[in-house]
């Protein structure tokens, strides 16, 4: 039976109060990707709504510092050459250690310049050159000064711009709604369920299409630059719905995170001329990447720092120094004011006067929900874009400045696909949504009734420590198996625990508990993928298999849940303009 609902009707069922909302498109996540999709959907005359577990402006996109890559060519290359999308694509594919799908890379790089202009046209304040054009700076692994920036607050400026556009269009946003499941009917995704955090009520959402834009899962690692909210919720509900995840073992460790809190110190700091020094004051990158030095790609620099520290040339507490002092006060204040403030607030160091203590920390999830070039998952009606997805533009290692780009480019393009499909579909059946809401209600009741006395926060600590120790920058078979066993043990432990707080309204502990359930599943997927990939490629570095093995592993890892178990298969990489060769920087 199909119940036709007008916009945002509240349906009251007989048994209990259940709010079911209808929108043409449900967008889960209010960061750059989610908001860009919402704008596009609205401009096409469709009714889209954004669901986010935080206010959209608190999304992790806001923390992006360094910039957005596009071959505008506003700043000439070293020998006066001009940048091109092909050069951008080449750097991206080489940076990915040839694991990126080259059709997706080509699309992103072709669309990059119009995307930067589009944000400018919406009002984003970019830093400017003397001639009034958008400023660009060098970034790691890039052959040109290609990274457009807004000082070191590029994500903040872009997110506020898109939020302004969303407000202007009157697009509905469900703020502080935690999504609990995807709902399927006849092999199609027809909506989702979500807990309204402030009331504890479970809502149902019926739609013709659902888009996941939930960001990364960095918080499964204890040393992470990510916001505390980056718990991979979208990955977990997709996995539960039988949707495959791709290349999840490829986790980026950013070389320069602030010692102590692991807050990001932008790659822009090195783009502006900052250098890395070990405890002897040596510029050690000259041994590891003689040509690119401090601006080698992130995987290379992170490994180099880790090696310096392991071999006793780091500072005792486990860090090296990022020295900006030679840049001078004016340049730091103009180009890097945000990270100066962060270093002062969180490490008590003023980069104008003293070097900043840094160490590598988890930063980005290259892998994600497996999607095709249109952002469609294997489940009809379900799409994903941005960091939570793996369309595979980053492969085994992402270049700095390409993630902001991905969010906005694919936000727009995937929305176009959704719009095209949406117009062909009839309204879906509401009954499965009602059933799903009741299932979530029962699950919450079951969790809150458990008698487990142990504090579940310890499970989170143990998981994130184990993940960093066993699936960090350097990996090997033995420690990864130990890590996997630990994850499975923690899953069993958690299944007996419960928050002490039994309230339904504003129960943030319950939300953290549900996040943690999902994180443990994601951790398991990362573990299986990493153990099975017996090679070193990009961010995945195995001391027991130190070389890249194109014969056996130039392919994407595909992980899916079947009968409660993680299954691993593979699918081919889409090669194109660039043939795999050795990566030298």
């Amino acid at each position: 039976m199909t119940v036709s609902l007008k916009h945002d009707d509240e349906v009251v069922t007989a048994s209990s109060l259940v709010s079911i909302h209808y929108h043409d498109v449900i967008i889960i996540g209010g960061g750059l990707t989610g908001l860009r999709v919402a704008i596009q959907v609205s401009d096409a005359g469709l009714d889209g709504a954004v669901l986010s577990k935080v206010h959209p402006l608190r999304s992790h996109s806001v923390a992006a510092q360094g910039g957005m890559n596009a071959s505008l060519g506003n700043v000439p290359g070293e020998d006066g050459t001009t940048d091109s999308w092909e050069m951008h694509a080449y750097d991206t594919v080489k940076g990915s250690d040839y694991l990126a799908d080259q059709d997706a890379v080509e699309l992103m790089c072709r669309e990059a310049t119009s995307t930067v202009y589009e944000l400018e046209h919406m009002g984003t304040v970019w830093s400017r050159l003397e001639n009034g054009k958008i400023a660009q700076r060098p970034f790691g692994g890039a052959g040109f000064p290609r990274t457009c920036y807004a000082a070191d607050r590029t994500g903040h400026n872009a997110l506020h711009t898109l939020y302004e556009q969303v407000l202007d269009r009157g697009i509905p946003t469900y703020e502080e709604f935690f999504v609990t499941s995807l709902v399927k009917d006849n092999g199609r995704c027809i909506g989702c369920t979500a807990i309204e955090i402030m009331t504890g009520n479970v809502h149902g959402f019926l739609s013709k299409a659902v888009l996941l834009a939930t960001g990364g899962f960095g918080r499964i690692f204890n040393r992470s630059t990510n916001a505390l909210i980056n718990t991979g919720d979208g990955h977990a509900i997709a996995l539960d719905a039988g949707v495959p995840l791709k290349d999840m073992e490829f986790v980026q460790f950013h070389p320069t995170t602030l010692y102590g809190t692991n807050i990001l110190m932008s790659e822009g700091a090195r783009g502006e001329g900052g250098i890395l020094l070990n405890s002897k004051g040596e510029r050690f990158m000259e041994h590891y990447a003689p040509k690119s030095m401090d601006l080698a790609p992130r995987d290379v620099v992170a490994r180099s720092i880790e090696q310096e520290i392991k071999e006793g040339r780091g500072h005792e507490e486990g860090y090296v120094n990022l020295d900006l002092t030679h840049l001078g006060e004016d340049r730091i204040m103009e180009r890097l004011p945000g990270i100066r403030q962060i270093a002062m607030d969180f490490a008590g160091v003023d980069p104008i006067k003293d070097p900043v203590p840094v160490q590598p920390g988890q930063h980005y999830s290259m892998g994600g929900i497996d999607v095709d070039i249109h952002g469609a998952t294997l489940l009809p009606g379900l799409y994903a874009a941005g960091e939570c997805s793996c369309i595979s533009v980053h492969g085994a290692n992402r270049l700095g400045g390409n993630s902001l780009l991905e969010t906005v480019v694919f936000g727009r393009l995937v929305a176009d696909k959704i719009i095209e499909e949406n117009n062909k579909l009839a309204t879906q059946n509401i009954e499965p949504i009602k059933i799903a809401v009741h299932e979530v209600e029962s699950k919450i009741e079951e969790i809150l009734e458990r008698k487990g006395a142990e504090n579940f926060f310890k499970v989170k600590d143990d998981m994130s420590k184990s993940m960093f120790n066993n699936f960090g920058i350097y990996r090997d078979d033995q420690s990864m198996h130990e890590g996997l066993n630990e994850i499975k043990k923690l899953q069993r432990t958690l299944s007996n625990l419960s928050p002490n707080n039994k309230n339904r309204a504003v129960n943030q502990t319950l939300i953290q508990f549900l996040e943690l359930e999902g994180m443990l599943k994601i951790a398991e997927v990362v573990a299986y993928g990493a153990i099975a990939r017996r090679e070193s490629r990009g961010s995945h570095t195995r001391t027991d298999h130190p070389d890249r093995d194109d014969n056996r592993f130039l392919k994407h890892t595909i992980a899916f849940l079947k009968d409660g178990n993680i299954n691993i298969t593979y699918k081919p990489v889409k090669l194109g303009m660039f043939k795999p060769k050795e990566r030298v920087y």
């Binding site: 935080v54 206010h55 402006l57 608190r58 999304s59 992790h60 806001v62 923390a63 505008l72 202009y117 400018e120 046209h121 919406m122 009002g123 304040v125 970019w126 830093s127 400017r128 050159l129 003397e130 001639n131 009034g132 054009k133 958008i134 400023a135 807004a150 000082a151 607050r153 903040h156 400026n157 506020h160 711009t161 302004e164 556009q165 407000l167 202007d168 402030m198 916001a227 505390l228 909210i229 102590g260 809190t261 807050i263 103009e334 945000g338 403030q341 962060i342 607030d345 969180f346 504090n455 926060f457 928050p499 002490n500 707080n501 309230n503 309204a505 504003v506 129960n507 943030q508 502990t509």
Partner: protein, 253 residues
């Protein structure tokens, strides 16, 4: 060192204060202290958090009687009185409970907004005022093929205002927001000024007119608390003074 926390939820006749002995650790922030409380004492405590790096603006609260971001506020520095911010007095920061600023971290919800539970306030009013000033770019010309050119020297002044993270610390620190419930407040006015000075918009005063009313530019008494508590050093007073100057000039014409 002790954490003294404001607790309130529906059904309580008045708020209570919980006291909790903190485990000191290097770099402990007030946000870190709240997580300690949640994990070791009472997991029903409600507070907002996200980035933990002072960029997302979600954790503004009243800390030792000053609106601050919990994630940015170091407990040790606070107790050593290194973070002193002198404020022009207003009712919401008057004494509510006994506390010793050398030993206690007193955490209360951000003033001038209704409390939902514990440290979570309802931000709707703040965002309604923000929406009222029409915070969306209105270019004076149709979009060119590439970027609009912009004098690089105009960027620093714009950045003063685009840096706002909408945390509402200023709103909770403004004596006028406490007494006049309709006053748009420092953040909304600073945001309006950001669009007014954007060289890509029209150079007339139409933007300023939006807040040319008692609840807008004219309500400010220049206490200056907003600038003192702003974690991003946004200067609403400059915006307000310059807006008044422009509007007065136009009237004299």
């Amino acid at each position: 060192m002790k954490l003294k926390l404001y607790r309130y939820h529906d059904g309580m006749t008045e708020p209570r204060y919980d006291t909790f002995e903190l485990e000191p650790s290097s770099g402990l922030t007030v946000l870190g202290a709240l997580f300690q409380f949640q994990q070791k004492f009472d997991d029903s405590i409600a507070f907002h958090y996200s980035c933990r790096g002072a960029v997302c603006g979600t954790c503004a609260m009243l800390i030792n009687k000053v609106p601050r971001l919990a994630c940015r506020t170091q407990v040790a520095a606070l107790l050593n009185d290194e973070l002193h911010i002198p404020l022009s007095p207003y009712p919401a920061i008057e004494e509510t409970v006994d506390w010793n600023p050398e030993e206690d971290v007193l955490v209360e919800p951000l003033p001038h907004l209704p409390v939902i539970r514990d440290l979570i306030v309802d931000m709707n009013k703040f965002f309604d005022f923000y929406k009222y000033i029409e915070p969306v770019f209105k270019p004076s010309d149709p979009a060119p093929k590439k970027e609009r050119l912009m004098d690089s020297s105009s960027v620093p002044e714009l950045e003063l205002y685009t840096n706002c993270i909408l945390c509402a610390a200023c709103f909770g620190s403004c004596p006028i927001n406490g007494s006049d419930l309709q006053y748009l407040g420092p953040a909304a006015l600073a945001k309006l000024y950001r669009f007014y000075i954007d060289p890509r918009e029209s150079d007339d005063n139409s933007r300023l007119k939006r807040a040319d009313e008692p609840r807008g530019w004219w309500d400010c008494d220049f206490h200056g608390n907003c600038r003192r508590v702003c974690p991003k050093e946004v200067p609403p007073l400059i915006a307000i003074a310059k807006a008044r100057e422009q509007l007065n000039l136009e009237r004299e014409k």
